[in-house]
């Protein structure tokens, strides 16, 4: 049973950099847990606190049922892939990978077996005789990964272990890591700022920003039920569009009014917003690019059709991203249809009121 629990962890670097701000997390046994967030949000620091390389300014860390806050790294039984690899420069790749096993006094032939096994799994067998400085960045990163995976500790900690690999290799390694992890059921905390990686690998994701955890949930939850403007904007490629509108009541239905358009929303949704905020308030309308439809038929008029000006078209092969100008905001529209629009031309878009999010601009929290 290896759970990892962070209990109100705060880390302040003197004089007053708050790297981690009151984080509480419970990571389940055998879970693949991803810390996701932009650069500098405190992911590495959090990981280092779990590893014992950094003492939290406040709070406790538990691995299993044991309070490990005061324990040195070697007694926590964790393995870690460093963001900067940290391969020992004076040891060959083989010795680098074997080092954690040798320190733990594993018999020699067992060490050899394990090292070769993991090396072939990660495709670095031919590199075993080289020194780290003779490797490319991607190769070094795989060696660093091997050094962590060669052990079967209570917890694996991985700090952006794939950031330096090419796209193809990255996809292969993702699958490989995931497979090994599922097989051995080792609780894993995985740091990344790549949301695709997070979505495809995680059992659960914690989205972080500025030292805080904003939301924890499964990839589906994070994607479909973002709780804040930040989470909504961070997940998805391209990210969610945000448009400043005014929430109002017109005749007998609730609307979101932009400068040049108007969207009628369901009464149910409207009532919630009215209850939380009141009418005639400024709100932020969020809609994902894939949830905006292109209306080709010029004749029909229907509710929730808005007219916008095409700005730039980015054809990406299987899909096309159309940047349009709506009010003063650039809105991205994703479509799989083969379409061509001239920049400057007018386009009609359908916004599905069932798939929109409304945020309170003051608190940045989601309203519906």
């Amino acid at each position: 049973m290896t759970t990892v629990e962070l209990d109100h962890i705060t880390k302040i670097f003197p004089p007053k950099t708050v790297a981690v701000n009151d984080i509480s997390l419970k990571i389940r046994d055998g879970e693949f847990f991803v810390l996701l967030g932009p650069s500098g949000c405190g992911k590495t620091t959090t990981l280092r606190i779990v590893a014992g390389l950094e003492k939290p300014t406040k709070g406790r860390v538990y691995i299993g049922d044991r309070d490990v806050t005061e324990l040195p790294p070697r007694k926590r039984d964790v393995a870690m892939v460093f963001q900067t690899y940290a391969l020992y420069p004076h040891m060959k790749v083989y010795d680098n990978i074997a080092f954690p096993l040798k320190v733990r006094k594993m018999p020699k032939d067992e060490v050899d077996k394990r090292v070769r096994e993991i090396a072939s799994l990660l495709g670095i067998e031919e590199l075993l005789d080289r020194y780290p400085r003779q490797l490319s960045g991607g190769q070094q990163q795989r060696v660093a990964l091997a050094r962590a995976l060669v052990r079967h500790p209570k917890v694996w900690l991985m700090d952006e272990p794939l950031s330096n690999l090419d796209a193809l290799l990255r996809i292969r390694m993702r699958a490989e890591i995931k497979r090994i992890q599922k097989e051995l059921k080792i609780t894993t905390i995985y740091v990344t700022h790549d949301q695709v990686e997070a979505m495809s690998m995680a059992d659960r994701i914690a989205v972080m920003n500025k030292g805080r955890v904003l939301q924890v949930g499964s990839p589906r939850e994070i994607y479909h039920k973002p709780k804040t403007l930040f989470v909504a904007g961070f997940i998805g490629t391209p990210p969610m569009n945000f448009i400043n509108v005014v929430f109002g009541l017109e005749k007998d239905h609730y609307v979101l009014r932009g400068k040049t358009f108007k969207i009628i929303i369901s009464d149910e949704m409207g009532r919630i917003i009215e209850k939380k905020l009141g009418v005639d308030k400024e709100v932020v309308l969020g809609i994902r690019p894939e949830h905006i439809g292109i209306v080709e038929d010029r004749g029909r008029r229907e509710n929730n059709i808005v007219e916008a000006e095409v700005y730039v078209v980015e054809p990406l092969g299987t899909e096309t991203i159309i940047n349009v100008k709506l009010d003063d905001t650039i809105v991205k529209v994703r479509t799989i249809k083969e379409v061509m629009f001239e920049p400057g031309s007018k386009i009609k878009l359908y916004i599905d009121p069932q798939r929109i999010y409304v945020f309170d601009p003051a608190t940045e929290k989601v309203l519906v």
């Binding site: 790294p73 070697r74 393995a79 020992y88 080092f99 954690p100 320190v103 733990r104 050094r147």
Partner: protein, 278 residues
Amino acid sequence: MAVVVLRIAKIVALWTLLVVIALFFGIPLVWLVLSAFDPNASPEFRIPSTISLRNFMLLAEPVSGVPPLMWIVNSAIISTLVATIVTITSILAAYVLTRYSFRGQGAMLTAFIVFRLIPPLILALPIMILYRSWGMMDTIHGLVLAMSALILPFTMMIAESFLRSIPVTYEEAAMIDGCTRLGSFLKITLPLAAPGIATIWLLSFVTSWSQFVLPLMIIKTPSLMPASVGLQFFFGEYGRVEYGKLSAFSILYSLPVLIVFLTVQKYLKRGIAGLVSR
């Protein structure tokens, strides 16, 4: 035509300057070498009529009961001890200074710069006074300890900058891999710092080897003298100075220093450049 003449004149002027400089710096050195091989050496600057190794042979014979070669042996023993003590203590101290943070750290580094620049005589005088009451006058261990302390601020700065240049991440990785904090330093950082440690050992060895003031104040018995004081003692011993033997001794005594500086030459320039800013 005029341009060519000007260019040649320039080169000749540069050559002349360089030759003058080479002569100024070379003459005392050349005299030292010439007289060492001259059985009838004198202050006079001349090519020996017969070149012989006699002066070197004579160094095995006693002067006031002590053969000069023994001073070289003494120096070797003293400097080996000093270099070893200084290297170990300064690496340990630098480890603490670079791997931990504590109050007064900046002040401590500043203090080391100050200590390093104190003229040795300022320390040698009170150390002599203290040694007289501690019964440490004329002892090798007394000399070794004082000499180590004198050199330590210097080697410690080198050790500090060396260890600072090795990222802590390697040690962190080793700690996660199962080493203790100290163990990770010993297993990972120390091997990485090996060239630096060798440099520190060699530099402290030659610094101790050349030191003069401290042994002059502490060691009075000829048989315990290191080479520096031995040379001076030898020089002042008789009415008539035995130039040949003194020069031969000087050359033997200087050789280790020349060899060490040849090996650490590259590091030296970097070290001197490091004095310009923090």
